[in-house]
């Protein structure tokens, strides 16, 4: 079995099994804790908890202009690499085929050249993010090992993906195997670090959305 077969086979099986295990473990470990739902009466005319939850999820997509002064870079750069990752992950045809193979659903992709360009922008943005983390006094103080591991786990698939499409550094099948292995590592790490925010943000925002909606307060 060569490296590519190992990556496409056992490594991915293992990673996805760990991903499923860890994600459910963590989500249920949180959501099955007591909810403490005894609440004072809602403000008159406040929206339903469901719409408050939705509103919380949506409103938090965009920061208040009041916080832009200090957080502009974090906000803009965060948007760039999140969108970049989303485009590269979900609109590159080989990735769509991967998803189709797993879940049976698919959608049209973007031209590969566009994906390469977005990939480069994403990589640059991620580098800017880690540079910011390592230089900003606030971020240095609040960062943990998790932040750096999660960065590496996110950056490696982008880097190996770019190397693979540009055939840099090694043979294509080696690079693509490393790419898949880096994705496997991403999946393994995902449930145990902050990457999990990709799922948790929904709950976190919705909960605060409901709390604020209940009080008639603005998020």
């Amino acid at each position: 079995m060569d490296l590519l077969d190992f990556a496409r086979g056992p490594a991915l099986y293992f990673a996805l099994a760990v991903f499923a295990l860890g994600t459910l473990w963590r989500l249920l470990g949180i959501l099955l804790l007591p909810w403490g739902l005894i609440r004072s009466p809602a403000r008159e005319g406040s929206p339903s908890p469901f719409s408050s939850a939705l509103k919380g999820i949506v409103v938090k997509l965009w920061p208040h202009k009041e916080f832009m002064a200090g957080g502009f870079f974090t906000f803009i750069n965060g948007y760039i690499f999140h969108l970049g990752l989303a485009i590269v992950v979900f609109l590159f045809v080989p990735h769509i085929l991967f998803i189709k193979n797993l879940f049976g659903i698919s959608w049209p992709g973007l031209p590969s050249n566009v994906i390469y360009a977005v990939g480069v922008i994403t990589a640059v943005s991620l580098i800017a993010a880690i540079a910011n983390r390592m230089t900003s006094p606030v971020l240095r103080l609040i960062s943990r090992v998790d932040d750096y591991i999660s960065w590496v786990m996110t950056f490696l698939p982008v880097l190996t993906g770019l190397l693979a499409v540009s055939h840099l550094g090694a043979r294509y099948e080696t690079l693509i195997a490393l790419h898949i292995l880096s994705v496997a590592a991403f999946f393994v790490w995902f449930p145990f670090g902050k990457l999990m925010h990709a799922f948790l943000f929904v709950f976190s925002r919705a909960m605060t959305g409901v709390r604020f909606g209940h009080r008639g307060a603005q998020l």
């Binding site: 473990w25 963590r26 249920l28 470990g29 949180i30 959501l31 099955l32 804790l33 007591p34 909810w35 403490g36 005894i38 609440r39 004072s40 009466p41 403000r43 406040s46 919380g56 999820i57 938090k60 920061p63 208040h64 009041e66 916080f67 002064a69 200090g70 957080g71 974090t74 906000f75 965060g78 983390r133 900003s136 006094p137 606030v138 971020l139 240095r140 103080l141 609040i142 960062s143 943990r144 932040d147 145990f192 902050k194 999990m196 925010h197 948790l200 943000f201 709950f203 976190s204 925002r205 919705a206 909960m207 605060t208 709390r211 604020f212 009080r215 008639g216 307060a217 603005q218 998020l219």
Partner: protein
């Protein structure tokens, strides 16, 4: 109590006689009880983006990275991961997350109490929607259990437990009310056996702001309402809400709710106090253990109802004013429109501060900080943010609807020899009642 400093020179206070282990365990147990699904989801969602720093007046005013809101939760979070999180058993087994040390808790006392007003502006800044302010409030519960709270808050705790109020013994309450009635020439109702409205007070009103007691009575009387103050349930400020003493919070909550039920009141009116609103309006059911059969409203909401219903008429003041939004009332309470409605009825043109409404900047003294003298230096720095905004807005008058904010801002003004008077919305209404 013993005032101490950590090796790094951070001041902290210690109460009670406990071994280090007992103290730590007490804190852990206090923490662990807080970890419900919501706190857990919030604890797990942080991506360390640092956006919350920009929202905190203490960070903005000092540039001190330690004041980054999420950083203030560090020991609480550590306890969560070690004792309650999904991976807690693994973390314990492999020693990935160590026990929180007493030293760490001592060091963090300053961040959890001195450097946080529970104003919740960080909650609005957090892209993950983490309610950081709520978590800090919950973290205070364990800190209280471990006897690791600032001396002043401990003192108020003791006083409140003894008197039922941090300001005065309950036996003296009726006298204070009646004296104020005499002083300001208003008919007072106190300890009536039955009334539709139970009116509660804040500590400052029993000392510095006694005019407020009379102002409420004046308006109630003008409206012809059935109302009363009551010695058994008069204190709306809830020190337990601020210092983490959950038993006291429950006791204080029960006292006013039970009194309202006892006298058959349909409405419990809270004084011009921010955290009283948080405690009685939004948290009461939790500590009361079920539905509250009484409507709980803030003084500002009461005034809004009064002016909007036309039951009182106001003289027009031809002036401009800026309104300082009390955090617990506006940002975390949802009462944004009411004070502006009332100012409008007074004929006041509101010149909004740069940050206003739910994004208003805290006065710097909420969450017990104004009582905690140790926090004075950063409180004054934060005050300067507010002062700049008020000066930039350039209004004639400066009004708020929270006694605590008023005291904080007045102290700040005095410190900097700033000649801006901080006025009470209630007082403004009472003083301008039209015939």
């Amino acid at each position: 109590m013993t005032a101490k400093t950590t090796t790094a020179g951070v001041a902290y206070d210690v109460h009670g006689d406990m071994s280090e282990t007992d103290r730590r365990d007490a804190a852990m147990k206090g923490f662990v009880r807080e970890f419900g699904a919501i706190a857990a989801a919030h604890m797990e969602s942080c991506v360390r983006c640092g956006m919350c720093a920009n929202a905190c007046h203490f960070y903005v005013a000092t540039g001190e990275p330690a004041y980054t809101p999420i950083n203030k939760l560090r020991p609480f979070e550590q306890a969560y991961h070690r004792h309650a999180g999904p991976f807690a058993p693994i973390y314990r087994m492999l020693g990935i997350v160590p026990s929180v040390t007493v030293e760490k808790l001592e060091e963090w006392q300053r961040l959890i109490f001195d450097a946080c007003t529970l104003c919740g502006r960080c909650t609005l800044a957090c892209p993950m929607g983490i309610d950081i302010a709520e978590l800090i409030k919950e973290a205070r519960h364990g800190m209280y259990k471990a006897g690791l709270i600032p001396e002043r808050l401990q003192l108020m705790d003791r006083t409140t437990k003894a008197w039922g109020s941090p300001a005065t013994p309950a036996e003296d309450f009726a006298d204070i009310i009646n004296e104020a009635g005499e002083e300001f020439g208003v008919t007072m109702n106190v300890d009536l056996p039955k009334a539709d409205y139970l009116v509660t007070v804040a500590p400052a009103e029993l000392s510095e702001h006694t005019k407020a007691l009379a102002d409420v009575a004046k308006i109630m009387n003008r409206m012809g309402l059935s109302w009363t103050y009551h010695s058994e349930g008069f204190e709306a400020s809830n020190i337990g809400y601020l210092n983490g003493d959950t038993e006291l919070q429950e006791k204080m909550t029960r006292r006013i709710i039970d009194t309202a039920i006892k006298i058959g009141a349909k409405t419990l009116v809270l004084p011009e106090c921010g955290h009283a609103y948080g405690a009685a309006r939004w948290e009461a059911a939790r500590w009361y253990g079920g539905d509250i059969p009484v409507r709980v409203i803030h003084m500002t909401e009461f005034l809004q109802e009064a002016v909007n219903s036309g039951k009182i008429k106001l003289n027009k003041i031809d002036a401009t004013a800026s309104f300082h939004d009390p955090c617990q009332l506006v940002r975390r309470g949802g009462v944004t429109k009411a004070p502006r409605d009332v100012l409008g009825k007074l004929g006041v043109t509101v010149k909004e501060l740069q940050n206003h409404g739910s994004l208003g900047v805290c006065c710097g003294g909420g969450g017990g900080v104004v009582s905690n003298v140790r926090a004075d230096p950063i409180r004054f720095k934060a005050f300067e943010l507010k002062r700049r905004e008020v000066e930039d807005a350039g209004a004639d008058r400066f009004v708020t609807a929270c006694g605590q904010c008023r005291i904080t801002l007045t102290l700040g003004a005095k410190h900097f020899n700033w000649n801006k008077k901080v006025e009470s919305l209630l007082e403004l209404v009472a003083d301008n009642l039209a015939d």
